[in-house]
């Protein structure tokens, strides 16, 4: 009897839910939460309150004025549309191409399969600057600067390997017997792809779509170099260029940044668990 009691007492001392951990926890919550809190606090302020000498910790009056100004800024809606369009192209292309490629890599044995998988892993380690310079030169030669196709192709370079890597796990969990049963019933390759694989890897395709969307939506450097006309800017490029204007309207800029971040944060909350698994599962793009 005395041994378990002693153990219990010790357990209480180890991993104590005592004040120490909670004070540290509170401190971390305050520090890590502060930038986000300050972003929201600033976005809902009126311009005069934003630049008051003593910063105000709660926006009063709570104002949506900055968001309205953001919407009315020249270029905001255009870049929003551009960002949505390009993200859509990349998402559709990466799940379609990734789905077919992963089916080939996981459901068939063929020469060079392993080499391809290793190459796909290695691609994810290439610094983006190493692709940026030659892509710029190539698209310039091909007269494709300022086109969404060029940007979409550049994004696919990193989205596709990642998609294949994520989908691989989903394909591998489909038992071989299912294909065989379908084939015995006379299903051809296309039929197996569409009626067997597609519904079974659908959750994987959805996570892939979300990852790809986030990557395309967030990118700054590729779009900054490959799109040089203001009318073609994506939101991140527009936000940064807006930031470099003289006499910046910080309220409008922060409100626009909040609007830009909302879809990503929502998607993140949906797939956070998969993200941990996906990223540590060998995918290495930052």
């Amino acid at each position: 009897m005395s041994v378990p009691l002693a153990a219990k007492r010790r357990r209480r001392s180890f991993r104590s839910r005592g004040p120490g951990a909670h004070i540290l926890g509170l401190l971390l919550v305050l520090i890590w939460g502060f930038p986000t809190y300050w972003m929201l606090n600033s976005a809902f302020k009126t311009p005069d309150k934003l630049t008051s000498v003593e910063p105000e910790f709660f926006p009063s009056p709570l104002s949506l004025e900055a968001f309205i100004r953001a919407f009315l800024k020249p270029g905001f809606l255009t870049s929003l549309g551009n960002s949505l369009l390009i993200a859509l192209i990349v998402v559709l292309a990466s799940i379609a191409v990734g789905f077919l490629a992963t089916a080939a890599l996981t459901r068939f044995r063929f020469f060079g399969r392993k080499a391809i998988l290793v190459t796909i892993l290695a691609i994810q380690m290439i610094p983006s600057i190493a692709l940026l310079i030659p892509l710029f030169l190539t698209f310039r030669d091909a007269n494709m600067l300022n086109t969404y196709w060029a940007l979409a192709l550049a994004y696919l370079a990193s989205a596709l390997p990642f998609a294949i890597w994520v989908l691989r796990g989903f394909f591998q969990s489909i038992p071989e017997e299912i294909d065989e049963a379908a084939r015995l019933d006379g299903a051809g390759d296309l039929r197996v792809l569409w009626s067997i694989y597609f519904p079974l890897v659908l959750p994987g395709l959805i996570s892939t779509a979300v990852f790809t969307f986030i990557e395309a939506w967030n990118d700054y450097i590729m779009a900054y170099i490959l799109l040089q006309e203001q009318a073609k800017y994506t939101l991140p490029v527009w936000l940064v260029s807006f930031n470099q204007d003289t006499g910046i309207d910080y309220g409008g800029l922060i409100a626009a940044s909040v609007l830009f971040s909302i879809p990503v944060v929502v998607f993140f909350l949906l797939v956070q668990r998969n993200l941990v698994a996906g990223m540590s599962g060998g995918a290495v793009k930052g």
């Binding site: 939460g33 930038p35 490629a101 796909i120 600057i129 190493a130 710029f136 390759d189 971040s261």
Partner: protein
């Protein structure tokens, strides 16, 4: 009745054989191959080729390029900037490694100890810090550190240790600029490590802890003898990822400092970008990018070798 089984098995085996010689996988993989060749393979070849060329504005507009052999590479290694830039890149990646992995380990251990409401609160702020896009985070940083309205300067002034910080400009010395960039990257980077480690840590069987406690081990002892060995593989993985990501840092520095003041925050990536796109010397920029990729490959050679070896079982 016993006949169908062996027949079916043989049939299955033969089908697998025909499947392996079918052209289907080729068709399925063809689109991906095209994309990867166009968007990765060809650009990499072109990168290496242009690193041996004098590829400047003239080449851009007239299409004239001349071969210069290793001149671009010689320029790198004889440049006064090379060693400081290299050192900075390493120091920054190293600092981020220690800070983000250290903080991530601490956060994950803390999550195990906090009560539910506190854990949820910590989770929420960490997910937000992680999810907010880099461009947004960087712009917020600029606003936080903005003289004279930035709240950070106000807080420091309020602390009263460093005097009046209201008009302090964080972009006048490289040291200050680095503090700003590092805080940003650590703020964004630690949550991923904390969540990944926490996912691993919650898999550790309870019995191990109970056994350690029966042996009378203290909190730190338990961490080093039970928790750490379990997490070692994950810590290794997130460390390699951190090195790769921070070695290749670009956006945060470019938007905040453009590599300044006086080149004080120029890393290899920024250097390559500046040479190519600000200096219009694409050959030189390409050579720096090749060197950067080479250094990164050396740094992560162990990891890559393990990946390739794991490829044996793919």
């Amino acid at each position: 009745m016993s006949l169908p089984t062996p027949v079916a098995r043989q049939d299955r085996r033969s089908r697998r054989k025909t499947r392996s010689t079918t052209l289907t996988p080729l068709f399925l993989f063809a689109p991906a191959a095209l994309v990867l060749i166009a968007a990765v393979g060809y650009p990499l070849v072109r990168l290496v080729i242009s690193s041996f060329q004098d590829f400047g504005l003239k080449s851009l507009f007239l299409g004239e390029t001349s071969w210069v052999g290793f001149q671009n590479y010689i320029n790198i290694f004889t440049s006064d900037d090379f060693w400081p830039v290299l050192l900075r890149t390493f120091a920054f990646a190293g600092a981020c490694l220690v800070l983000t992995v250290g903080l991530g380990m601490m956060m994950s251990e803390l999550m195990m100890r906090l009560n539910k409401p506190m854990r949820v609160a910590l989770n929420v702020v960490l997910i937000l810090a992680w999810a907010i896009p880099t461009v947004t985070a960087t712009l917020i940083w600029q606003w936080l550190f903005q003289p004279p309205y930035g709240v950070v300067n106000w807080l420091i002034t309020r602390l009263g240790i460093f005097g009046d910080f209201t008009d302090h400009n964080w972009l006048t010395t490289p040291g200050d600029a680095w503090i700003m960039v590092t805080l940003l990257v650590v703020w964004q980077g630690a949550p991923f490590i904390a969540f990944t480690l926490y996912a691993g840590q919650s898999q550790i069987p309870r019995e191990y802890y109970e056994a350690a406690m029966l042996d009378g081990a203290s909190g730190i002892k338990i961490y080093t003898t039970v928790t750490f060995p379990f997490l070692k593989a994950i810590i290794y993985l997130v460390s390699v990822l951190t090195i790769i990501w921070r070695f290749n840092i670009f956006n945060q520095i470019w938007i905040l400092t453009r590599g300044g003041p006086e080149g004080g925050t120029t890393t290899l990536g920024i250097w390559s970008f500046r040479e190519a796109f600000a200096g219009n010397d694409y050959g030189q920029g390409a050579a720096i990018a090749v060197v950067t990729a080479g250094i990164l490959m050396l740094l992560t050679a162990f990891y890559v070798r393990r990946l390739v070896r794991s490829g044996e079982q793919l």
